[in-house]
Symmetry: C2
Amino acid sequence: MVQYEDIDRTFAALGDPTRRSVLERLGRGSATITELAEPFGISLTGMKKHVRVLEEAGLVSTEKVGRARLCSAGPRRLEDVQIWTQTYRQMLEERLDRFGELLERTNKECAP
Amino acid sequence: MVQYEDIDRTFAALGDPTRRSVLERLGRGSATITELAEPFGISLTGMKKHVRVLEEAGLVSTEKVGRARLCSAGPRRLEDVQIWTQTYRQMLEERLDRFGELLERTNKECAP
């Protein structure tokens, strides 16, 4: 169940364009809350909220450096999201393959 | 922006274990709302709500068949989720590679 809750949180955290942009920014290197907030033109309070959601999902780590809070890409690297997505896509493709095979067999059987 | 809204909706729709299970079930074949609701022990109204969220995200298609509503895997196949996730993971890996190279170079330069 813990695993389930984690992936729920991860998907929910990714369902916001600002939070995905924050991750893309942190993928290029660490940044303070102020540095993250600036390009989005949102308040520090607003950015802190987004960072907290990402931190709770394990997607961002933060540490206090002097008076600033430095944010970095967190320990979770979306392995679970990637595995779930790939498994689902594969399941659909295999069904389509089976459907294709069935069509082909039916066509052959019905051929004059 | 439309694309952005779509992926927001997709991620949000996937942030719920019942909705992910519904997709896994539909990946094996179509099912009515009643058939979907039964194994989860939730009400038809509850399942209808989940299906609506998935339908709005393009992940499920529904059609009225007699008095039942038949649900199938929708036109969106999580391509966008897969691409975003892979790009993010790759970015982090490349940064780690560069960090590894830097460490190696530093070690060589500092070697006696």
